[in-house]
Amino acid sequence: MLMLSMTAWGVQRFPPPQFESGYQIPQTTTPMPHPPIRDVIDSAVFLVALGMASWLTLKKRSRKWIVGLMLFSLFYFGFFRNGCVCSVGSIGNIALAAFNSEYTLPAVVLVFFLAPLVFTLFFGRGFCAAVCPLGAMQDIVLIRPVRVPEPLEAALRLLAYVYLAFAVLFAATGSLFVICRYDPFVTFFRFNGNWNLWVLGISFLLISLFVGRPYCRFLCPYGVILRQLSRISRWRVKITPDECIQCRLCEQACPFGAVVKPSKPLPPAENARSKRTIAFLIVLLPILAALGGWIGSAMHPTLARAHPTVRLANRIDAEMAGLVQGQTDASEAFRASGQDVQLLRLEAVSIRYRFWVGGMMAGIALGLIAGGKLIASAVPVVRKEYEAHRAGCFACGRCFAYCPVEQKRRIDQSIMNTK
């Protein structure tokens, strides 16, 4: 025990020598982190890239240019800046800042979090198309897209909501930033990392060869927020620059299943049935919410183990009760520091309580979302023309070239230019 407490600080056992040979005691070197101006530059480049992406997807309508900007973003925010700060991971910082007053949010993180949301509210998901390096990584390797059946797609998409809920819960309780820890491509950006991360990244990349943007579609927690904002965005990507002629050429254009077909109103008999289904689902909604809340709060002892203080308190209790043999590094360090066990327990109890509340809220939210999705799937939609799905479209611009009306526009434009 004595030796351990010395490890913690050490003591001045031997007085520093009085040198007679004129020896100068060297200084401890302190290499500095990058200067703050880099954050300003990054923010500026980010905002310009977002603006460019919006212009390219809505006005220029050129896949080539979008790919160009995407490659730039991949190299700048990915390989040059090692993939950090990124908007997807910034959710963790934001949640921590919102729930923990001691944490100071760096301004650059706020810019990376907020700017794409505002841009999406106005111009759709240009961020996903050409600014996000994670999206770019998956987009460039997509060679043979496989169609994911619509029900499977809808089910898998729920994963992203679950991921978002838990990411916020863990970050808000100060446990860990899940999104950053399991960032699939940061290993490539750094070209450095341990085996687990390489395996994760390479698996995602291999899946991305055949399934378009799997992370973006089924896991990205930031994408979840962007989807909702994109639903109501002021302007958005349109497949055709003018009137849709229903030629069906764009039907297979989208590797992400985001081109939706026109649909007619239901016949009266089916319409009545769908109304009954919707009524049933609305009744089901509070039940789903309650179920989610119950599961979420019941999971709190397990979830709380993500927090190091709770883990330590559990371990110390187990050691004191004689349930486990020996000590871990953490319990050893705790005992050596001579802190009060009772205080640790109290702290663990308060963290567990926060997990109970947070788990319940996350569960209720997920229950409501699942219920809402069911209701939305039962509501008949009337569409006159082929269009890009309001929420699901990444604005990648692949479908433009499939549209004959767009081809005509391009030819007209080139004639105008040569005149």
């Binding site: 401890t28 706020l110 950053c180």
Partner: protein, 186 residues
């Protein structure tokens, strides 16, 4: 700006309302968060008062070579001939032979200063941050060797993998303009 000729239907009205609410919500969130944010950037650092030199720094860093290195507070050092941070217990001779050294990477350079003093310098290109020397120095010496995150190497992950694995919760975020927690300086 209202156009009298354009009828407002319920769907558009609701959509515009929702859009306005979202915009206001984003603006509000931005304002609240901006009040909590600062120009100041934060970086990871080890509090040497809490560090137990457990060895996790060498293995948990996301970089293949850990960004944590041993640093030396020379003004605290006793310049001992028998340095317990340099030599493993009961060395066969007080020389620079590898079998006598505690450091698995041979990253500590021992140079003669004057009788009977020796200077110990860390070659950071070899050091892997395992903390064996830190333990040795603190156990029997002055504790002038300690671990620090080196900011020329650290990529400043949002989620520092070593911080998550640190058993003593010695990792903390410090302002980027004062990125070191050095021993022996006040």
């Amino acid at each position: 700006m209202t156009q009298p000729n354009k009828p407002i239907n319920r769907r558009d009205f609701l959509r515009d309302g929702l859009w306005g609410a979202c915009f206001a919500g984003l603006a509000g969130t931005g304002a609240v968060l901006a009040s909590k944010s600062s120009q100041q950037r934060f970086v990871w650092q080890i509090d040497p008062a809490k560090c137990t030199a457990c060895g996790n720094c060498a293995t948990f860093c996301v970089l293949q070579e850990s960004a944590v290195k041993c640093v030396h507070a020379y003004q605290m050092c006793g310049y001992c001939d028998l340095c317990t941070g340099y030599y493993r217990p009961e060395p066969s001779a007080l020389d620079t032979a590898a079998e006598n050294q505690l450091c698995p990477r041979g990253a500590i350079i021992r140079t003669y200063v004057e009788d009977p003093y020796f200077q110990y310098t860390i070659d950071e290109s070899l050091c892997n941050g395992c903390g064996k020397c830190v333990k040795g120095c603190a156990a029997f010496g002055n504790g002038s060797l300690f671990l620090q995150v080196r900011h020329d190497l650290c990529v400043n992950c949002n989620e520092c993998a070593i911080a998550a694995a640190c058993p003593a919760q010695a990792f903390k975020r410090v302002p980027a303009d004062k990125p070191y927690l050095l021993k022996g300086q006040g």
